[in-house]
């Protein structure tokens, strides 16, 4: 296998599958799923420490920050102020300047509020953050995000947790042509073929959480996703044959009786 590393803002990543850590049964399952997936980037959320029950375990006791790139998100933030506040808290909690920036529009769709996203990204970039924005499948917004200094963009395939797969492949393809930074398809993947398709289209990576954590067997799905992302990437690099309406024989005619 040839060397095919993903580089974002000078950081190298081995895996093109990135995974979230929410919704698992327990931390042991989280750890196992991540291990099996082969992902080296994992997203985490920032929340209040439980001060009434200190017996509760910490996620980072299970996921070694030396082994994985921990990518804090601003999940659950609906305003620029909240998203900026959570990003600053994530940095203060001491992992890095990386943040997966989410500014959500409404609870029902969890679609990004792209106007708020651009505003928050601008503030955080000025403060030295490496902002990876969770955005809509909108090529114009993607370009604006890159223009203000985002070193990658993370357009959704479909609403978070919906499992609908890639709703607008043409927009994603336009984004891939429009911006010259890595594109990480984030959210909406339902099963392995969705992830493979995203990679075949030319995505640089795929980020998912629910598709694995919500599967009947999360560990098996984690493995499926690993192969899907890898296969999709190889197929993309290999270059697929064009689609044709009629058949083309694979066996030669010469030598036939």
């Amino acid at each position: 296998m040839y060397d095919d590393r993903l580089v974002i803002a000078g950081r190298e990543f081995k895996s093109r599958l990135w995974v979230g850590t929410g919704k698992y049964k327990d931390f042991a399952e989280t750890r196992k799923a991540i291990e099996v997936s082969g992902a080296d980037v994992v997203t985490v959320a920032v929340r209040r420490v439980n001060i009434t029950d200190r017996s509760k375990e910490n996620l980072l006791d299970y996921i070694d920050p030396k082994k994985y790139t921990i990518l804090p998100n601003t999940a659950g933030c609906y305003t620029v102020e909240d998203a900026v506040r959570y990003a600053r808290l994530a940095r203060a909690a001491g992992i890095s300047d990386l943040v997966k920036l989410e500014v959500l529009g409404d609870e029902k769709t969890l679609f990004p509020d792209t106007a708020g996203l651009i505003e928050a990204a601008r503030i955080l970039i000025k403060e030295g953050f490496i902002v990876l924005p969770y955005t809509n499948d909108d090529p114009i917004v993607a370009k604006k995000l890159v223009d203000i200094g985002c070193p990658a963009v993370m357009p959704l395939a479909a609403p978070i947790g919906s499992g609908l797969g890639i709703r607008n492949p043409y927009n994603l393809k336009i984004i891939m042509e429009t911006v010259k930074v890595p594109i990480i398809v984030d959210a909406g993947v339902g099963t392995a073929s969705d992830a493979a398709l995203a990679m075949e289209y030319g995505a640089d990576a795929v980020l998912m959480n629910t598709a694995i954590a919500g599967a009947k067997d999360p560990i098996a799905m984690a493995e499926a996703m690993k192969y899907a992302v890898h296969a999709g990437r190889l197929a993309h690099k290999a270059g697929r044959i064009p689609r044709k309406l009629y058949a083309t024989a694979s066996s030669p005619i010469e030598g036939m009786l």
Partner: protein, 85 residues
């Protein structure tokens, strides 16, 4: 003898002695300072200042850390919202 005072920690009222530092509070709560962020009255504190910052009555302290997350919804909510398209 130190006087008692009340502060708010993660939204809950808490009685403590006056002059308590943020570092003292974290030790009282058995919270390791690595990988937590502390916000004091909306100001995010530098970790090296935890031992320097004394708390006063009415202060609002938020202590945050990383939890599992990718998207937003909890498993319960995901189950509740389950509808086939």
């Amino acid at each position: 003898m130190a006087e008692a005072m009340q502060i708010q920690v993660n939204g809950l009222p808490r009685d403590c002695r006056s002059g308590l530092t943020v570092g003292d509070l974290l030790r009282e709560l058995d919270i390791k300072t690595e990988r937590v962020a502390v916000e004091l009255n909306l100001e995010i504190l530098d970790r090296k200042d935890f031992e320097l910052r004394s708390l006063k009555a009415g202060d609002r302290v938020e202590i945050l850390s990383f939890i599992g997350g990718g998207g937003l919804v909890s498993r319960e909510r995901m189950e509740r919202g389950r509808t086939d398209v």
